[in-house]
């Protein structure tokens, strides 16, 4: 299929435009949006079947001139790294449309913005031109701002602008870094593939300027840091994580799912896509502190914060901070296991946390609060719901047989060979995770049923429909991780091979 990636990206955008022309009928708009997300999902399945797992090259590449004078082109393509994210995006977008059926306010606006967001996310993962990548990266912010700001909770305005400002701060630094790379490549181009091929050209001579000369930093290091800050805000890595709990708590359920499931992945995706292959010397130098140590700190800090939360959604949000720490830790290891584990963790976190946010949404829709202490004994009232919750929670804490286990163990195995201390710290996060999740299960689901909620309705068909696909993926990947890992391995090995020669010791 020609131009399949373009179709996947722009069908939702066209859908968004069409929604604005539909009559003001909520039911029609909802089902229309659901239908719009089906073709990208089917195309994603087709991609999954036809993707060549033996090569690290970009596949399904589309390359058109856009602005020839500046060598800006419209280049799309996927490799093993991006295809997993494309699959995740297509799936979660489809599911989240159904999870949004409860939206009553300005329905047309909501679904139009949601589809725009979908297009932006798809574009980020498919773009191979750095300029195009940046445009998609930024385009995504606008719908997100409105989705949180208009349809969010009580403090939505604060959360929306905080998210917006944080991300923009990161992206302007990224823009400057992109420009600096552009002017270093001869002839000037934004094509990521050319930039990767030029990896050795980016100067590694120590800059004569203070403070860089005292740190021994070169052009590569400075650019690496600028890109890293842009991506770290999205991950979100400590200390840039504070927008995340706010945004998650205020966002409507489906948006939380997208935020955790897709947007956070863009941070680590960006680092693997650009920092690793384009700036290998700096990556080798910086990885220990900026990815490894920071990742381990994220794991523990996020888990401890999660443990202290009283709000169920905030707990899940902080657990995201913690779980994204595994991704960073695995990336820093430069071993096959570590890197594969990291990207698998990105995929798994998308599905598991997606489930967890959907589950929180279910109980919030019924009780209109998310206070952990305010429930109790839900297992007796809503047995099916509790069963699915248990699956998601156990996957999140890394129970063998479920997907979270595979990625976490791969990360820890990979890192152990390089940084035993960080691995021990990271592994202790597993215990903390088990701690807060089990404690939550105990407080919310076990014990005597809360009198107030004796009549709470069991999870309904639509809600089950949104959860089941994710649950199935969690189990399949847990039993046979090869489904995902086979796609990743070749690409990640080739990325790894670029950095390894520059490692010290």
């Amino acid at each position: 299929m020609q131009n399949i990636l373009t179709y996947m990206t722009f069908i939702p955008l066209a859908g968004a435009a069409m929604i604005l022309m539909l009559p003001n009928n909520a039911k029609l708009v909802r089902w229309f949006s659901a239908i719009v997300t089906v073709p990208p999902l089917l195309m994603a399945v087709w991609l999954f079947n036809n993707f060549d797992r033996t090569t690290a090259k970009f596949q399904f590449v589309e390359d058109y001139h856009w602005i020839p004078a500046y060598n800006i082109s419209y280049t799309m393509g996927v490799d093993g790294l991006s295809i997993s994210m494309v699959l995740l995006t297509a799936l979660l977008s489809f599911i989240c449309i159904f999870a949004s059926f409860g939206i009553e306010k300005a329905v047309k606006g909501y679904f139009a913005l949601f589809l725009m967001l979908d297009a932006g996310m798809m574009g980020v993962f498919c773009a191979l031109d750095f300029f195009l990548f940046y445009v998609f990266w930024e385009v995504m912010l606008l719908p997100m701002y409105f989705l949180i700001g208009i349809w969010g909770g009580p403090r939505r305005e604060y959360a929306a602008i905080k998210f917006f400002l944080y991300t923009l701060f990161g992206s302007v630094l990224m823009l400057l870094a992109i420009l600096a790379l552009y002017f270093t490549v001869e002839p000037h181009t934004f094509d990521m593939r050319v930039m990767m091929a030029h990896a050795s050209k980016y100067s590694t001579a120590v800059l004569p300027m203070w403070p860089f000369n005292s740190w021994g930093w070169s052009f590569q290091h400075v650019i690496w840091l600028a890109l890293f800050i842009g991506f770290a805000i999205k991950i979100p890595a400590f200390p840039f994580h504070t927008w995340l709990p706010d945004a998650h708590v205020e966002a409507p359920t489906a948006i939380s799912v997208i935020l955790a499931g897709v947007l956070l992945k863009m941070g680590t995706y960006g680092i693997l896509r650009t920092n690793f292959p384009m700036l290998p010397v700096a990556t080798a130098d910086m990885a220990y502190w900026f990815l490894g140590a920071l990742g381990a700190w994220n794991i523990i800090y996020g888990a401890l914060c999660a443990m202290a939360q009283k709000d169920l959604k905030k707990l899940v949000a902080y657990s995201s901070v913690s779980h994204m720490g595994y991704v960073m830790l695995g990336m820093a290891s430069f071993t096959t296991q570590g890197l594969n584990g990291a990207v698998l963790q990105m995929f798994n976190h998308g599905t598991i946390t997606g489930m967890m946010f959907l589950l929180v949404g279910v109980v919030y829709d019924r009780a209109h609060h998310r206070d952990i202490e305010g429930f109790g004994g839900l297992a007796a009232i809503m047995p099916v719901y509790t069963g699915i919750t248990a699956l998601a929670f156990f996957a999140s804490m890394g129970l063998p047989g479920l997907s979270g286990f595979i990625s976490e163990i791969l990360v820890l195995l990979g890192t152990w060979q390089k940084y035993p201390v960080l691995t021990i710290l990271g592994a202790s996060g597993v215990i903390l995770t088990a701690g807060y999740l089990l404690w939550t299960i105990q407080r919310v689901y076990l014990g005597p049923p809360n009198e107030k909620y004796l009549n709470m309705a069991e999870i309904n068909g639509r809600e089950i429909f949104t959860l089941v696909p994710l649950g199935i993926i969690v189990i399949i990947v847990g039993i046979y991780p090869g489904v995902v890992l086979d796609m990743l391995r070749t690409t990640l090995d080739s990325i790894n091979a670029i950095v390894i020669p520059h490692l010290h010791g």
Binding site: A69, E138, V139, G149, I150, I161, F164, L168, V172, L176
Partner: protein
């Protein structure tokens, strides 16, 4: 080509057409009583002048009127630019309630006079001509600022503007007199020749440059000559504020580019410029640029009046555009021209919506925008949001491309200019806060019971939708505009 007075007239048609239009409006204003024709006449005059201006591209570049005026691609660009801004402003004025209250004939005659002055600002190659053209624009602007009868704010603004303008231009002509004293000439080319000789007092020359900068600075609105702008923006009739914010500001940049680049610098083959006479004015511009954008953005953060906020945002944008001057390369200048065009589109668009809202509510306070999207004005609210995000520099809107080219010109220079790029980039983040504040008020806040329904007449959209379309179009397909701005960057230097 170096023409005498009569021979020059052939290449002076756009100006002649404008002058005739102005005189016609004044003369007919004495006779006819109907309300609509001055606008129509002004519009026709501008369109004719625009067409004739394009025709000038076929002419040889050269000097007119005994080396007073230059005809080259750069001056034609600014003719086209000023005329476009004027046409948009006339269209805005037609739909505005404020302008209905005043003598329309005088209003349009003065507006066109300002435009005529801007033609000269962009094309003068002589200190005297530069000063006169600047004053011509200023005088018209003072009157138009105070044009609302019975509005204390409007009169106050005009008085402030007049005093600031008087001081600034006085300082400027004093600086010019120093240069004349040192070089014995008013002509840019002769000055440059004289300055490249030995024995010029660098300190004196530097001081003269600083004095001259005062005049430019007050037109472009950069720090520390920016104080007049919020009051004037708030007090002046909204269509004229829009005009002032794009046309007058950019004409100031044009006169400054003309003075510093073909005038005081030499172009190298690489597309970089070197400042002659070894005076460090680029460093001054660099510092002023950073200060201007930072102060503009920080002051805008807490404004409650949307016009004042846009005034401070205009100061910040002037700061961004000055980056292109400070880095001394052709990319920077081309980026300024590109930025000027997209800034005109998005800023006029923003003022258009502000004018539409104040037509209904009578004020520009940010509270008047509360829940605007849910009060019957969804389309204007969406358009304003697009203009504001474009002003922030978000893709896929034109403002992003403007900033992109400016940043890329700065990054290309590299080295210490990286600091400038970082300051500018962080400033865009700061600016998001106040632009988004308006968007927040329009979309995220719910209207209170006492907020009126805002209904917009259909004719309001005839200008709004094309501007919105252009803001998006130049954000995704900007190739032809880039080519045009690069093409416009050809100076006639003798």
């Amino acid at each position: 080509m170096d023409l005498k007075n009569v021979a020059s007239l052939t290449f002076f048609c756009p100006e002649i057409i404008l002058s005739v239009t102005i005189l016609l409006i004044i003369a007919l204003d004495l006779i006819a009583q109907s309300r609509r024709w001055p606008a129509a006449l002004a519009l026709i005059g501008c369109l004719c002048s625009l067409i004739v201006s394009f025709d000038l591209y076929s002419a040889q570049p050269g000097l007119l009127f005994h080396r007073m005026i230059v005809l080259d691609n750069f001056s034609i660009f600014f003719k086209v630019f000023s005329l476009s801004a004027t046409i948009l402003c006339i269209l805005m004025s037609i739909g505005s309630n404020e302008i209905d209250k005043v003598h329309e004939g005088e209003y349009y005659a003065l507006l066109l006079t300002c435009t005529l002055g801007m033609f000269f600002m962009a094309s003068s190659s002589n200190l005297l001509m530069a000063y006169l053209s600047l004053e011509m624009v200023s005088l018209g602007s003072y009157v138009l600022t105070g044009f609302l009868p019975h509005s204390r704010r409007s009169s106050e603004a005009a008085l402030k503007y007049l005093i600031y303008g008087g001081v600034a231009s006085g300082t400027m002509i004093y600086g010019m007199s120093w240069i004349f004293g040192m070089t014995g000439s008013m002509d840019y080319a002769a000055i440059q020749l004289a300055l490249s000789q030995e024995g010029i007092n660098k300190a004196a020359l530097f001081i003269a440059f600083i004095f001259i900068l005062a005049g430019f600075g007050y037109k472009i609105v950069f720090f520390p000559f920016h104080m007049w702008s919020p009051d004037v923006y708030q007090g002046a009739p909204t269509p004229f504020t829009a005009y002032l914010s794009v046309a007058s500001n950019t004409a100031g940049l044009a006169i400054m580019i003309r003075f510093f680049f073909p005038g005081m610098s030499k172009l190298l083959a690489s597309g970089d410029w070197t400042a002659t006479a070894g005076v460090e004015w680029p460093q001054v511009l660099l510092a002023l640029s950073m200060l201007t954008m930072t102060i503009g953005n920080l002051c805008a953060l807490n404004q409650r009046n949307v016009k004042r906020m846009l005034a401070y945002s205009g100061i910040a944008h002037a700061g961004y555009m000055m980056m292109g001057l400070a880095i001394l390369n052709n990319e920077g200048l081309a980026a300024i021209l590109f930025y000027a065009v997209v800034y005109m589109i998005m800023n006029l668009g923003a003022f258009l919506v502000v004018g539409m809202v104040s037509n209904v509510t009578g004020d520009e306070d940010i509270d008047d925008y509360r829940g605007l999207a849910w009060r019957g004005a969804t389309v204007p609210a969406i358009c304003l949001a697009i203009f504001l995000f474009s002003l922030t520099g978000m893709p896929p809107f034109a403002g992003f491309m403007g900033k992109f080219f400016l940043f890329s010109a700065v990054v290309k220079q590299g080295g210490a200019f990286a600091v400038l790029a970082i300051v500018a980039a962080l400033n865009s983040v700061v600016s998001l806060y106040y632009y988004a504040k308006i968007v927040k008020t329009m979309f995220l806040d719910s209207p209170l019971p006492e907020d009126k329904q805002v209904t917009m007449a259909a004719n309001n959209f005839t200008l709004l939708l094309p501007l919105t379309f252009l803001t998006i179009l130049f954000g995704v397909y900007f190739g032809p505009l880039v080519q045009y701005t690069n093409y416009s960057l050809r100076f006639f230097i003798k």
